[in-house]
Symmetry: C2
């Protein structure tokens, strides 16, 4: 019923990567793309959009690349998604129905689920890796 766009999936993945390497300075987009099997030129477009949204900074020239504009604690998954695919709005505003209140409430609760910082995500991926390792 709902699904994430490929763009958003790539975007969060790239943002997480930049978060992991936050201390190491800018990362070039080609490496990030190759690491995650993302078409290189397409990822550039995604990163450009994240830049326009103030989530990422870019540095040109050799040794250039992309870096988070703020710390991983300050960037939420929701921010990335909203930047790339617009804000979550379950129903269009122009037609109103008797269920608007219900959809609006659902929307608020879904947004809350996505209030997770990149820093939290890093921790979560580590925990998940541990679980997987132990279970093997």
């Amino acid at each position: 019923m709902f699904s994430l766009s490929q763009k958003s999936i790539y975007g969060v993945l790239a943002a997480l990567e930049l978060a992991k390497r936050y201390a190491d300075g800018p990362q070039n987009s080609r490496c990030v793309a190759e690491d995650h099997g993302i078409p290189c030129n397409y990822l550039e477009q995604v990163l450009a959009q994240l830049k326009r949204g103030g989530i990422v900074n870019s540095f040109r020239g050799s040794q250039g690349g992309y870096a988070l504009a703020r710390s991983p604690q300050e960037i939420l998954v929701k921010n990335v998604l909203e930047c790339l695919d617009g804000s979550l709005s379950l129903v269009s505003d122009n037609k109103s129905t008797v269920l608007d209140f219900f959809w609006h409430d659902a929307q608020t609760r879904i947004e809350a689920i996505l209030d997770v910082s990149l820093a939290d995500l890093i921790v979560a991926t580590r925990q998940y890796d541990n679980v997987v390792s132990y279970s093997i």
Copy 2:
């Protein structure tokens, strides 16, 4: 970022209408469509899909129409949405990423938000109407 399809919006609206009139026997689709400003032929297609999904029954001929296949208590909003637009799957299954566990968790929590029966929805719309009435 995500949004509901028009089909789902119409579908839940129609299901709610059939729930409200559950005791009155089958309702014809044209009336339901006109009541909610839904294109008549399109709603028929939506109802046909709900029928194939076992959510609704249909009765042909004059005095025919559509009725819920089960009581309003037994039909969830999630059921209607899944019938019309497939199951909620945030990410495609063929490509796996380090974030699959996160998206999967989010998915489960979103599904929980939609575990609301049509009977609950009726109650909720009444409560909402009361709030609006009092606040005027």
